[in-house]
């Protein structure tokens, strides 16, 4: 019995130790990045933040600071990418929102802003309250609660018990459906949509893959696009305002 317990403890330690070591190393990298940033060594700070993310996983603060360091070192496109990743993880953080807007304001090619109606605005306001993981967790919790209410309803004897369970069950089912919709949209936007940011200084979007096609519109570093099909080193991208065209695959980087 004692031997088994020791074995379990050893296994747990083997699992946890590398994780905690990775986390502490990431924290050290992050803090060192802050020191370099404060010293004006923005490019080196960006490297440290990058390593922190590689070692410790995605973290909104690390991505935010990475965006700052990249922007300060003149890397506008990758700064926008970092802010977008930070916003995915912490959509309510006002600093991330502010700096992302600031970086977008520096993009040379300003695409027309999306115009939304009042319903759409309200929907996206609610949607932006939580990240994809946040909405997934909320949907899961409500789903579990709805399932518990379903069990309560199923096993209740007599009319009284079922009548009491019914409003709770229906409310939770409605909330579960709503949470599921928000989760699906958030996941579609953040996880499933192949987003990218233009990194080249100036890029012409053409009507097809190849230099001999007609120029449809011009983009520049920092423009956010969604990547579609790719062919022969070219990819079809679409930008805000309904613009769609083909650009070279090395002119952008996926999030």
């Amino acid at each position: 019995m004692k031997r088994t317990a020791n074995l379990i403890l050893a296994l747990l330690a083997a699992i946890i130790m590398p994780l905690s070591a990775g986390a502490s190393s990431a924290a050290a990298r992050y803090n060192h990045g802050n020191e370099l940033y404060k010293a004006g060594e923005y490019a080196k700070a960006a490297e440290e933040y990058n390593k922190a993310i590689e070692e410790g996983g995605a973290n909104a603060m690390a991505y935010y600071n990475l965006g700052n360091a990249r922007l300060k070192s003149g890397d506008l496109g990758r700064a926008v990418m970092a802010y977008l990743k930070a916003k995915e993880l912490a959509p309510r953080d006002p600093d991330i929102e502010y700096n992302l807007d600031y970086a977008r304001g520096l993009v040379k090619t300003q695409l027309p802003p999306l115009e939304r109606g009042p319903f759409s605005k309200a929907f996206f306001w609610v949607l932006n309250l939580f990240s994809a993981n946040g909405w997934t967790a909320i949907a899961a919790v409500i789903y579990w609660a709805a399932a518990a209410a379903g069990v309560w309803f199923a096993v209740s004897r007599g009319r009284g018990g079922k009548e009491a369970a019914k409003p709770v069950l229906y409310t939770l089912l409605a909330l579960s459906a709503m949470a599921l919709v928000f989760t699906a949209v958030r996941v579609k936007l953040d996880v499933l949509t192949p987003r990218a940011v233009i990194l080249a200084d100036k890029v012409s979007a053409l009507s097809g893959p190849g230099d001999n096609n007609k120029v449809l519109f011009e983009t520049s570093e920092g423009v956010e696009v969604v990547v579609g099909q790719c062919d022969q080193g070219w990819c079809e991208v679409s930008a805000a305002g309904g613009f769609r065209g083909w650009v070279k695959a090395d002119s952008f980087e996926r999030l």
């Binding site: 986390a23 990431a26 700096n99 040379k108 518990a148 519109f217």
Partner: protein
Amino acid sequence: MTRRISIFLLALVFPLMALADPAKLTVEADRTSVTVGERINLTVTLEGDGVKYGSPFQLPDLSPYLTLVGQRGPFSESSTTIINGRMERSAKVSITYQFEARKAGTIKIPPLSYPVENRTARSNPIEIAISDAVRPTVIEGDTGWRPPSDPYVRVELDKDEAYVGEQIVATVYLYYRNDFINPELAPIDTGTDFIESKLGYATSLDPKTETFGGERWKVAYLYSQALFPIKAGEALIRPVTFKYFVATGRRSFFGPVTEGYAVSSDPIKIKIKPLPVAGRPADFEGEVGSFDIKVTPSFGSLKANEQFKFTVSIEGTGHMDYISKPRFEPPEGFDLYTEGVEKDYLKDKGRAVGRRRFKMILVPHKEGKHVLPPFTLSYFDPESGQYKTAKSPGVRLMVSPGDKSSEPLPLAASEPEVISAVGADLRYVKPDLDEYDGSVGWLGYSPAFAAAQLAPAAAVLASIFLRRRKDKLRHDVAFARRLRANKESARAMREARAALAKGDSAQACADVYRALAGFVSDNLNLAEAGLTAAEVTDALLEAGASEEAVELTRELLGSCDMARFGLGEGTDARSIVDKGEALLARLAKETRQ
């Protein structure tokens, strides 16, 4: 004879044919000679007795010479005429297609066809000559500059360099040769280098034609903005994006298909000079432009301690947000209060002009004739490059002795200072971390999380199953009895074993009988009371038990009957119990439903 009949029939039919008005399809062009970039209208008309426009006219592919850019119609009209007592109805349908010439050459539009009842109407062919745009010779004043794209947005500034706070007028023009639809234009993004004021905009495109590099272009004014630089150095006027749509030449169910495009103006860098230090007045607070100060009314007659209300207006070319309150030192025995501030933005000769009005209250405490000192405002005049001071006329007051008990009315506090942004930068980095909390990705990709979501569904399904089973047990007696048959018979057999252990053979056999009879009655939903061996065997056969098992049951029940009533001398109770157990297992298997 046959020939005569034929002639007679022809004579009969020809007039009838002449009476009928056959459907006629025509194609007309408003011009047969165009230059590249010009537009041409083709009108397709179908007319005749009872014609109906069903399927659309099938236009031939005219690319690359002509591209369909618009359509008007279909327009239909019908008329009824009575000639010599005979009523005639005719109908007419027409559609006008607008094409744009895209390539020089001669294009022959073949005859169009359109089905009308049992025949096909055919139109006339048309030939269109398309020539290249004629490049006029370079005229005087043509610098050779040519817009780099069509369309092209150009931002023009009224000066090449300016002082901090000096007004710069930016005017946005659109240069184009080919027409477009649904134009949209964003305002100049002044970023953090300027503050701006709108001057005017075009409500519709009103182009004038100009020649650039030997080509004729349309040039349209779009809008103008006044920009006021807020810091010295190199300021950037960012590109202005112009969005528009053009017809692709393709058609969909809803009409011609269009594609959206965008073009941006070139960014413009302008040098912003700092204000000179030399000659700067001590009371200078940053006003740049040309200003006048007026005071209304400039004369008043009142009693001591009464309020004299007047307005000080500053008007000039600077941005009104930069205008501070004019300097004024009230002499001893006078109190000055500011009641409110108003500002207006005006336009004069294409430039922004502002006016700021300070509503003031002066309370004299001593009688007599007074000429107050003027209100002054020091400013930098960028035209002359010098600091100047604007002065108002001095207010003249005739103050008579007042009621000594009268006190000045309580006044509102002076004008509050309004905070305004003077620059923008990134927000600072987030602080150091004690623990780094990193996530590995979306929760949905975690197998453990996904598997955990199955548990609630399984719990709901299990609870529904249990609920239904309970309900069935409650309402289906046969089902409930069948479920308990094995349990009850097993219990009776345990009791038989116990009786056997006590040496009570009669009781053991009675228990075996009860187990068998109970099993059969519960399993087959029969009334146990009064159940005879014959009924048991019939029921078992009906339930699917083999004849051998039924025979064994019948024998065992008989043996039990004999033994429990003490009639079976030498009956081996243990053997009966063993057989009973084996038989119950066999019956349970053979009668399983």
